[in-house]
C-alpha cells in the first residue's frame, strides 16, 4: 500500500496529517500555518495561527484577536515531529513559502509569489524540495512582465503629465502589497501621497510592525480637495466608480495589475491607464521558480492550472492540477473583499470542490 503523502488536499485546505496542521485553510481548523495575509489565504476562525513576524499586525488588523505565533524566515517550528519553516515568497511584505519536512521528505507550499525584488518585500528564495505546491495565477505565456523600473518610470511620468494638465491622479492597486510597492517607488518630488482609508489602515498596521514606509496622508472628511488633487491618490479596487472617487474629478485613473497586460481586460476596467505591475510571477518566472526547487512533482493550486500543468508535463515536469479556493482566475473582476464573502456565503462551496483526486497515488510514488 502506498504511503500517505505528507501533505494532502482536503475540503478544508492543504493538510499535514502527520503534523496535524493545515496550510492556508479556508474552513475553521485548530492549527493553521499562513503564507500571507491576503483574504483568500488567511481566513478567520482558526484556533491557532502561525505566520511570519511581518504579517503580525496586518493579521490582527484583518482578523481581529486571534491566537498568533510569528517566526522569522528560516526559523524552525516543530509540530508533532514535523519540521516547519518559512521562506521569503516576495509576494507582499511578510509573505512566505512554507517548508514542511518529515523523515527527509520535503514539501514546499509557495502561497503566492513573484521573483522580482520589489524593494519592499523580502525577495523570493527558491527552496529545494521533493514536492512543490505552486500558484500559477499568470500561468500563460502571454503574461511576461517588464522590470518594475520601467513601469514606475511610466507611472511617475503619467503623474507629472497629469499635474501639468491640471487633472488629479488616482492610482488603484490592492491595499496590501501593491499599494506599498507603489508608495515606495513613487517620485515624491512630484508631490504628496494621499491614501484611501483601507490602504492607510494597512499602512498603519505595517508601520506598527516596524516597516518603514514613505510618508502618506489619509484622506478624511477634513482633507482639502485642492491639495489632494495636487498629489497622487492611492485607492483600492473597491473604490473605483464610487462617489468617494468621483469627488476628485477631473482625474486620470490608473490601474496597477498583471491583468493589464491584455487589452481586453484593460478596456473592461475602463481605466485611463493600465500599468502591468503584478505581485505574482509571470510565465517565465513560474517555470524558473519551479525548476529551481529541483522538485520531483509540482501541484498547481490556482490560476491557469490546466494549461500550465499540461505544458509543464510536456517539458518534463511531473505536474498536477489541484483544486483549492485560492485566488480567482481574475481576482480584479470582483471588488476586493467580495471574493471572500462570496466564498464563505456560497452554499454550494462544498459541492463545487473536487479535491484530492489522484493525490495519494501521486504522493505514494515518492516513497
Amino acid at each position: 500500500m502506498a504511503k500517505k503523502p505528507l501533505l494532502e488536499f482536503t475540503n478544508s485546505g492543504i493538510y499535514c496529517a502527520r503534523g496535524r496542521f493545515y496550510i492556508d485553510p479556508w474552513k475553521p481548523v485548530d492549527d493553521a500555518v499562513i503564507t500571507h495575509a491576503h483574504a483568500d489565504h488567511a481566513y478567520v476562525g482558526h484556533k491557532h495561527y502561525l505566520a511570519h513576524h511581518l504579517s503580525k499586525e496586518i493579521l490582527l488588523y484583518r482578523l481581529g484577536q486571534i491566537q498568533l505565533q510569528t517566526v522569522a524566515y528560516g526559523e524552525t517550528v516543530m509540530k508533532n515531529g514535523v519540521k516547519i519553516s518559512l521562506h521569503p515568497a516576495g509576494h507582499v511584505i511578510g509573505s512566505a513559502q512554507i517548508r514542511v519536512e518529515y523523515q527527509g521528505e520535503v514539501w514546499v507550499v509557495s502561497g503566492d509569489y513573484k521573483l522580482e525584488d520589489d524593494g519592499i518585500s523580502t525577495p523570493f528564495e527558491p527552496v529545494p524540495c521533493h514536492h512543490f505546491i505552486s500558484e500559477c495565477t499568470f500561468g500563460m505565456p502571454v503574461y511576461t512582465w517588464k522590470p518594475q523600473v520601467q513601469i514606475f518610470e511610466d507611472i511617475n511620468n503619467w503623474w507629472r503629465s497629469n499635474l501639468h494638465h491640471g487633472v488629479a491622479t488616482v492610482l488603484v492597486g490592492y491595499s496590501l502589497g501593491k499599494a506599498q510597492r507603489i508608495l515606495q517607488n513613487l517620485d515624491l518630488f512630484n508631490g504628496k501621497v494621499y491614501t484611501h482609508g483601507v490602504i492607510e489602515n494597512t499602512n498603519e498596521a505595517l508601520r506598527r510592525n516596524g516597516v518603514l514606509l514613505n510618508p502618506t496622508e489619509r484622506i478624511t472628511a477634513d482633507s482639502v480637495k485642492e491639495e489632494v488633487r495636487q498629489g497622487i491618490i492611492l485607492a483600492p479596487p473597491s473604490s473605483v466608480g464610487t462617489p468617494w472617487m468621483r469627488k476628485f474629478q477631473p482625474y486620470s485613473f490608473g490601474y496597477c495589475s498583471g491583468w493589464m497586460a491584455i487589452r481586453g481586460a484593460k478596456r473592461r476596467r475602463a481605466a485611463d491607464r493600465g500599468f502591468v505591475l503584478s505581485d505574482h510571477a509571470d510565465w517565465n518566472g513560474l517555470i524558473s521558480a519551479i525548476d529551481a526547487t529541483g522538485c520531483e512533482s509540482v501541484y498547481l493550486t490556482h490560476g491557469y492550472t490546466a494549461t500550465f500543468s499540461r505544458y509543464l508535463n510536456e517539458i518534463g515536469f511531473d505536474a498536477h492540477e489541484v483544486h483549492t479556493l485560492y485566488g480567482e482566475e481574475d481576482p480584479s473582476n470582483l471588488p476586493e473583499g467580495e471574493a471572500f464573502n462570496e466564498l464563505t456565503d456560497n452554499p454550494n462551496a462544498n459541492k463545487v470542490l473536487s479535491i484530492g483526486e489522484d493525490l495519494s497515488e501521486a504522493g505514494g510514488s515518492v516513497s
Binding site: M140, P141, V142, T144, A261, I262, R263, G264, A265, K266, R267, R268, A270, D272, R273, G274, Y304, T307, R310, Y311, E314, E328, E329, D330, N333, L334, E342, N348, V352
Partner: protein
C-alpha cells in the same frame, strides 16, 4: 508606424470623447497626408486586401514564438484577439523601423504576386523589426478586423477641426468606395468637391429609439409629450430588411447597404426599375423578400444574403423588392435639405411613374390623428411583419448619421421567454477571458433543448457574477465551450421567431438578447419548447 501604434495606445488610454478627438488630431497633425488617408480608410472599415491567409500568419507566428500549437490556441482564448496574441507571444526585439503606415501598406499590397516562401521571409523579417505595440497594429493590418472603439464620427470631427471642412461634408466625401492610394487628402478637404465619383452614396440618416429599452415603455401620452403635436409627424411601418441606398447616375446603377457594401449584384431583380429611373436619382429604402405582394420575415431574405451565386431557385423562392422611404437626389440635385414632406412628394411622383410597381414600392404613410390612435395601430406591427413604427418630423431635412430630434423609431416590445443557461464560451475584445457568450435552453419534457445564443444584455457586474458561477460549475469542457450546471435562469427577448430546419429546437429567433437575470426563478420554472412554438403562430 510608430505614430500609428501610439495612436492605438493613446485611444485605448482614454474613455473621454474630447480626449479621443485630441489624440486623433495630434495624430493627423504629425503624419504625412498619405498616412492620414490610410488611417481614415482603416478606421472607416476599408481594410487592405488580405495578402497572406490567416492560417499561414498564425502558423508562422507560432514558429516565431517557440511554443506548441495547442498553447498558442489556449493563449488566443485568453487574449480574445489574434493580432494581440501573436504580438504578445513573440520574443521582444531590439531592432526598430522608421517605415510609415503608407510604406507598410504598400509592402503588404506588394505581396500579391510573391511566393509563399517569400511572404514568410518578409513576415518574419518584419516582425523582427517591430516592438510589441507596433506588432499588434501590424498584425491587425495583416489579418483585417480593425475595431478600435472610436466611431467614425470622432475621426471625422478631428478631421473637420484641423481642415475647417464641415463634418457632414467630410462624412459624405468618404462614403462609398475609394482607395487610400488614389484618393488624396487635398481632394478630401478641398473647398469644392474635387472627386468625380458617381457611385458615392449619401450618409444614411438613422433614428434613435424613442423608448431607450424595452423595460422603459413609453405610453402614447408620453410619446406625445416628447414629440408635440401629432399633426407635425408622419408615421410609417418600420420594416425589417436591409436598409439600402439605390443610385442611378450617368446611366449606371449602384445599390449600397447601410454597412457601405456595394450590393448591386446581389439584387438583380431591382436592376430594371433602377435603370428606368431618371439619371441623378438616389432613393433610400428597405430591401425585403416579398411573396404574392406580402413582405416576408427577415429569415427568408437571410437565405440569400451572403450567397456568392444566386441560383434561379433562390431567386424564385426569395424574390426581393424595395420599399422606398425617401428621395435624396432628384435630377442630379442633392435635395436632402428639403423638408420631409417635400421629399415625400418627389418620391411619390417617382414611384407613381414606375413601370415596376411590384419591385419599386413605397413605404405607405400611416393615417393617424392622435398619438393614442398611432399607439393602437403600432400594436398590429407583428401582423404586418414590421418591427414597429417610424416617426419622421414633416419639416425635417435628411440628416447625417444617427441624430436625435427629427426621426424616431418606436419599436414593439420584444417577445420573451425564461430560459436556462446550459453552455458558455469566452468572449472577445473587452470581454476576453470572461465567459460572456451563452447558450440558452427551454424544457422539452424533462430535457433542456438549446434554442438561442445571446451575448448581450447583462451589466458588467452581472457578467462577472455569471463568469464566477460558470468557472465553478463547469460540468464538461469541449474546446472553448463549457457545459454549465443548469441553474441560472434568464429572460430572453427576441424580435421574431421562425421555423428552422437547421436548429435542433426547430426554431430560429431574430435578435435574441438577455433582458434580465431571473434570480427569482428556479430552473424548473423556465419556459417550455411548446410554449415557444406557440409563438410561431403570432
Amino acid at each position: 508606424m510608430k505614430a500609428f501604434a501610439q495612436l492605438f495606445l493613446s485611444l485605448d488610454e482614454t474613455n473621454k470623447t474630447n480626449e479621443k478627438v485630441k489624440v486623433l488630431k495630434d495624430y493627423f497633425n504629425t503624419v504625412p497626408d498619405t498616412d492620414k488617408m490610410h488611417m481614415l480608410a482603416l478606421f472607416t472599415g476599408r481594410k487592405p486586401k488580405r495578402q497572406i491567409n490567416s492560417t499561414l500568419v498564425r502558423n508562422w507566428a507560432i514558429e516565431a514564438s517557440h511554443i506548441p500549437t495547442w498553447l498558442f490556441e489556449e493563449s488566443y482564448h485568453v487574449v480574445g484577439d489574434l493580432a494581440e496574441t501573436m504580438a504578445l507571444l513573440m520574443p521582444e526585439t531590439t531592432n526598430s523601423s522608421s517605415k510609415t503606415l503608407t510604406d507598410w501598406i504598400a509592402e503588404i499590397n506588394a505581396l500579391n504576386d510573391k511566393t509563399e516562401a517569400e511572404k514568410k521571409l518578409w513576415l518574419l523579417d518584419s516582425w523582427a523589426m517591430l516592438d510589441s505595440q507596433e506588432r499588434f497594429v501590424f498584425n491587425k493590418l495583416l489579418t483585417g478586423s480593425f475595431r478600435v472603439g472610436v466611431s467614425q464620427n470622432l475621426v471625422i470631427k478631428a478631421l473637420a477641426d484641423i481642415s475647417g471642412v464641415a463634418a457632414a461634408v467630410l462624412t459624405h466625401r468618404i462614403m462609398g468606395s475609394w482607395l487610400p492610394q488614389t484618393y488624396q487628402y487635398a481632394q478630401l478637404i478641398a473647398e469644392q468637391d474635387a472627386a468625380e465619383n458617381i457611385s458615392r452614396p449619401y450618409p444614411f440618416f438613422l433614428a434613435y429609439p424613442i423608448q431607450e429599452t424595452s423595460e422603459k415603455q413609453k405610453t402614447p401620452a408620453e410619446v406625445g409629450i416628447a414629440l408635440g403635436a401629432a399633426a407635425d409627424w408622419q408615421a410609417e411601418w418600420k420594416w425589417d430588411g436591409i436598409r439600402a441606398q439605390l443610385i442611378k447616375r450617368g446611366g449606371e446603377i449602384f445599390i449600397w447597404s447601410r454597412g457601405e457594401d456595394l450590393a448591386t449584384e446581389k439584387f438583380p431583380e431591382l436592376h430594371p426599375f433602377l435603370h428606368a429611373l431618371p439619371d441623378g436619382t438616389v432613393i433610400d429604402g428597405e430591401i425585403l423578400s416579398f411573396q404574392n405582394g406580402q413582405p416576408m420575415p427577415f429569415n427568408v431574405l437571410q437565405t440569400r444574403i451572403g450567397r456568392k451565386n444566386l441560383s434561379r431557385k433562390i431567386l424564385e423562392e426569395s424574390p426581393v423588392a424595395v420599399i422606398a422611404y425617401d428621395c435624396l437626389e432628384y435630377k442630379g440635385e442633392d435635395i436632402r435639405s428639403k423638408t420631409q414632406s417635400e421629399r415625400r412628394l418627389v418620391l411619390e411622383q417617382l414611384q407613381a411613374a414606375t413601370l415596376f410597381p411590384e419591385v419599386f414600392r413605397i413605404s405607405a404613410l400611416i393615417n393617424f390623428n392622435t398619438w393614442e390612435e398611432l399607439g393602437a395601430i403600432r400594436e398590429q406591427s407583428r401582423a404586418m411583419i414590421a418591427e414597429g413604427v417610424m416617426l419622421k418630423r414633416k419639416g425635417a431635412a435628411y440628416q447625417v448619421g444617427r441624430r436625435r430630434g427629427d426621426w424616431w423609431k418606436w419599436k414593439i416590445d420584444p417577445l420573451s421567454v425564461d430560459a436556462v443557461m446550459i453552455y458558455a464560451q469566452k468572449g472577445h475584445g473587452r470581454r476576453a477571458d470572461l465567459y460572456t457568450d451563452y447558450t440558452f435552453a427551454v424544457w422539452d419534457g424533462d430535457k433542456l433543448v438549446p434554442f438561442a445564443k445571446a451575448y448581450s444584455g447583462l451589466t458588467d457586474a452581472e457578467v462577472n457574477k455569471v463568469d464566477y458561477f460558470i468557472k465553478r460549475n463547469t460540468i464538461e469542457k469541449f474546446g472553448p465551450v463549457r457545459t454549465v450546471k443548469p441553474e441560472l435562469v434568464f429572460e430572453i427577448g427576441f424580435e421574431g421567431i421562425n421555423k428552422s430546419t437547421r436548429h435542433k429546437s426547430g426554431i430560429a429567433l431574430r435578435f435574441p438578447r438577455i433582458l434580465r437575470w431571473r434570480h427569482d426563478k428556479p430552473k424548473e420554472e423556465a419556459d417550455t419548447l411548446e410554449s415557444l412554438k406557440a409563438l410561431l403562430g403570432e
